[in-house]
């Protein structure tokens, strides 16, 4: 692996001046640290996707099937017929350039092919060549070029340098959504077995064991039991999570990343404490599933069919357990899938009830068809009705800012709920500048399956705009904690902060909720879930 440059070196390397040679005449050079390992054949096989094989992007020969050009051509034709988005987004871009400097990868690398418009042109040029009159007639003059091996490699390199965050689509006058183009482009690459391993293996794990980490049911329970011990040590209260429980009120599904790695684990503990609090005080019965133990959906980064196959478990398990509705944990792309795809793919969920919070009586009207509620919506409702006993001063050592996760921001629009929750569980909250939050939020740089370790330079460069905004509030308000509502953020932001703004740590929102929550029967608390001393104790 290439040695990582120091942060000031990486910063001073950014150059927005495009090269002299035109982009079609500048073949992509795969640079170490900027791409991920190839998908392992076993994972591709598990998902029954085509052409599983050992291949290496560094080699000249990618061991493609002989008729690969035909496969791509047919694949494009098929998708042009199935997705109006694809067809329109191929046709109507005027290259006004409004999107150019909106992409975090462009801002962080200066690579012109990371301008959303050019990323799309990589595919559009082939589309013009194969599917449009002028492209066929005029070739390069019409911005068309034939699909060659170099072009395919360029696709692969740059389609896995997009995190499908949709920031560009906010600014596009026609709403052209690069995420959609990347999603379809990756589907095309998957027709040739050209996935990356950080996506294929979690997706395969999820298919077989129910979660990305490949944690088997007994081990999953073990991990939550370990959290139970930790919580008891901190609060003196022994929480009792239930698993695969038939007849529970609510099924809870969250990304498995929070069960596995810090600081997500503290958020997972937060969920357990909240569930226990609601069980003891209000008799609400929430169960976890080991079968549907994954909220995230790396199928979303593979193909829409794979996304559907993984997502199907949520409803299947809810139906089997006979719960009333489903509660979902903090996660970004998981919520884009739930909000914009799940009902369409795997609904109608007519075996579930329209979600009502039994404690407050609130009907979640906005979720009455899909029947899945975001835990932030749920907690905000509880707090608003005064149903949680909170002591925000327990978080007084934190000076918090909030990172809107791209998918929740631009694929859902959940802005005020998390802010309401955060302001009720801590006393020091500071917003980052307006151009870096809410619908204009910057990606962590590691979304859409790019949070591997071999592409660390890419992730750090892509995360720069986010980190730079955090640094701004750190310098101005002494912010020391970056709150988020996404499991990938919790995995991706800590190394990003360590690199660019080492004074700032990362937390899930429900970790802060749990730390502020006064549990029934708790002992005199002296430390928080991380074992850090509480302020004034």
């Amino acid at each position: 692996m290439a040695a990582l440059p120091k942060s000031d070196e990486l910063f001073s390397k950014i150059n927005y001046k495009p090269p002299q040679s035109g982009w079609m005449d500048t073949p992509a050079v795969l640079r170490e640290g900027m791409f991920c390992f190839a998908a392992k054949p076993k994972s591709v096989e598990t998902l029954s996707l085509p052409y599983p094989r050992e291949w290496n992007p560094r080699n000249d020969d990618w061991l493609l099937p002989e008729n690969w050009k035909e496969i791509i051509y047919e694949g494009m034709k098929d998708r042009l017929g199935r997705f109006r988005t694809f067809k329109i987004f191929m046709d109507i871009c005027v290259r006004c350039g409004a999107c150019a400097d909106k992409c975090h990868f462009f801002i962080g690398t200066g690579d012109p092919k990371n301008m959303p418009v050019l990323r799309a042109e990589l595919i559009r040029s082939v589309y013009r060549n194969d599917f449009t009159t002028f492209g066929k007639m005029l070739g390069k003059l019409a911005g068309a070029r034939p699909l060659t091996l170099d072009v395919l490699k360029e696709w692969w390199y740059y389609l896995f340098q997009c995190t499908e965050c949709r920031r560009c689509s906010v600014f596009c006058p026609y709403g052209i959504d690069t995420a959609e183009i990347t999603i379809i482009g990756r589907e095309l690459l998957n027709l040739l077995g050209l996935n990356i391993d950080w996506i294929a293996t979690p997706a395969a794990n999820c298919y077989r064991t129910g979660n990305h980490m490949g944690i088997q049911p007994h081990a999953f329970k073990d991990m939550l039991d370990f959290f139970v011990d930790e919580i008891e040590e901190v609060t003196g209260v022994r929480v009792e999570p239930s698993f695969n429980k038939k007849g529970a009120d609510i099924l809870f599904i969250t990304p498995s990343g929070d069960v596995f790695g810090d600081p997500g684990t503290y958020t997972a503990m937060g969920y357990l404490m909240l569930h226990h609090y609601l069980k003891v005080n209000y008799g609400l019965d929430i169960t976890w599933s080991t079968y549907a133990s994954e909220g995230g959906n790396f199928g979303f980064f593979t193909s829409n069919e794979t996304m559907k196959r993984l997502n199907a478990k949520m409803y299947a398990e809810a139906k089997r357990l006979g719960v009333k509705w489903i509660l979902g944990g903090e996660c970004g792309h998981m919520w884009r899938v739930i909000n914009q795809y799940m009902g369409t793919m795997n609904g109608p969920a007519d075996f579930l009830e329209e979600p009502v919070n039994p404690i407050t009586g609130t009907k979640f009207e906005n979720a009455k068809s899909t029947k899945m509620v975001h835990i932030i919506e749920f907690t905000a409702d509880l707090i608003k009705h005064g149903k949680l006993n909170l002591d925000p001063s327990r978080n007084d050592h934190l000076r918090v800012t909030f990172h809107d996760s791209c998918n929740v921001a631009r694929g859902m629009g959940m802005f005020d709920e998390p802010r309401y929750v955060i302001k009720n569980v801590c006393n020091n909250f500071y917003e980052m500048p307006r151009n870096c939050i809410k619908e204009q939020t910057f990606c962590c740089g590691s979304g859409s399956g790019l949070n591997a370790s071999e592409d660390m330079e890419l992730r750090l460069a892509g995360g720069l705009p986010r980190a730079n905004a955090v640094k701004y509030v750190h310098d101005k308000h002494d912010v020391n904690m970056l709150a988020c509502i996404c499991a990938i953020d919790r995995a991706a932001l800590p190394p990003l902060m360590k690199y660019w703004v080492p004074e700032v740590d990362v937390t899930g929102t429900h970790e802060m909720v749990a730390n502020a929550l006064i549990m029934p029967g708790e002992k005199e608390k002296t430390v928080n879930l991380r074992g850090e001393e509480l302020p004034g104790k």
Binding site: I14, Y16, P18, R82, F83, R84, T85, K87, I88, D91, I92, R95, C96, D101, K102, I107, P112, T133, F134, L141, A142, R166, V170, F171, Y174, G175, I176, D177, R208, T209, P217, H218, K221, K246, Y291, N304, R309, A312, K313, A316, Q340, Y341, G343, T344, M345, T362, N366, S369, T370, M372, E377, D381, K384, A409, M412, G413, M414, N435, P465, Y472
Partner: protein
């Protein structure tokens, strides 16, 4: 020298010469004045409609609006009804602002790296302003031209002309729209040349319509203010075209035919080009759908049936371990 830009420039110059020579030397008034305009309008109408039909033919499998404001959720949270519409009404308002005022482009920012490793984002209004000026002045010019095709000229057209020629400078009155059109289209051209990133992404297909429109506006302005063409003759000619009894009157200079030919080229080129964004914006699924998936199910007409890993298969894989860990199972063995 930029070859894409040169190609487009040469193409437009050739088109101009073609019409000029065709009329001056070869006397092809009938071809350039009657045949080509009819064909061009036909191509435009058929092409535009078939293009839109072709888009509409592809389904919208998922409802994926880009949400640019607060979602509708709890009753006490202020919902952003336009930027994150929940109902068809909200979508209509969103599209209204998008199409008539280029709302998304209005958000445009420019990223800059400053001293001390600080990145800032500044509101960049010029592209928005120039685009808006360009589209509205073009529309005004287009509507103004209806006076050639209508007899008597409707009052509303005369009213528009009065407003447009508000700054009267001698006779004939100066139409603001023509000047704004030329200025804004020149701005759009210059930014393609001078902003390095924009120059890098620009194709010949981006320069061609710009040169075409610059030439159309210039020939129009020349005719109105400088060469002073035979306006009565042109009206007669236009009425002939409109009533499908075309005749070629005498005394119309070749400049007019150049103007008409370039307009014809623009019409014929339209359906095959990026200019179709005019139709596309209406169909863009990230803008024209409400964000209400969780409340109202969206139907995908080709929703694929897929194999899923069922709970039963899962339990078969892990039953013993599950029993040992005290997890409930469906079948004991």
């Amino acid at each position: 020298m930029n070859s894409k830009y040169m190609f487009s420039l040469i193409a437009v110059v050739v088109l101009i010469l073609l019409a000029y020579v065709g009329v001056e030397a070869a006397g092809l008034q009938v071809i350039f004045g009657i045949v080509i305009p009819y064909i061009a309008v036909l191509i435009f109408i058929v092409g535009f409609i078939s293009r839109v039909m072709d888009w509409a033919h592809s389904p919208v499998p998922f409802r994926i609006p880009t949400t640019c404001g607060q979602q509708k959720s709890l009753p006490w949270i202020k919902h952003s009804k336009i930027d994150n519409p929940f109902t068809a009404g909200g979508v209509i308002v969103r599209m209204f602002f998008e199409i008539l005022f280029f709302r998304s482009l209005f958000r445009n920012t420019r990223c800059r790296i400053n001293e001390g490793a600080k990145i800032s984002y500044i509101w960049e209004k010029w592209l928005w302003l120039a685009s808006l000026a360009f589209h509205y002045s073009f529309l005004t010019v287009l509507i103004r031209h209806l006076r050639f095709f209508l007899e008597p000229v409707p009052v509303c057209l005369q009213l528009l002309e009065n407003v447009d020629s508000f700054f009267q400078v001698g006779l004939p009155g100066l139409f603001l729209s023509g000047a704004v059109l030329l200025a804004s289209v020149t701005f759009l051209f210059l930014r393609r040349i001078y902003i390095p990133q924009i120059r890098y992404i620009s194709l010949a297909a981006d320069f061609f319509p710009l040169f075409l429109i610059i030439s159309i506006a210039t020939t129009g302005i020349l005719m109105r203010y400088f060469t002073k063409v035979n306006i009565v003759g042109i009206k007669e000619f236009a009425m002939g075209l409109a009533t499908l009894h075309p005749t070629v009157p005498d005394g119309i200079g070749s400049l007019f035919y150049v103007h008409l030919f370039l307009v014809s080229v623009l019409f014929a080129y339209f359906p095959f080009s990026k200019l179709m964004h005019m139709g596309g914006i209406f169909l863009s699924p990230t803008r024209n759908l409400p964000n209400n998936n969780r409340a109202e199910r969206h139907i995908n007409p080709w929703n694929p049936s897929v194999k899923i890993h069922t709970y039963e298969e899962y339990e078969d894989d892990f039953r013993e371990k599950m029993i040992e860990a005290g997890l409930p199972v469906e079948k004991e063995s």
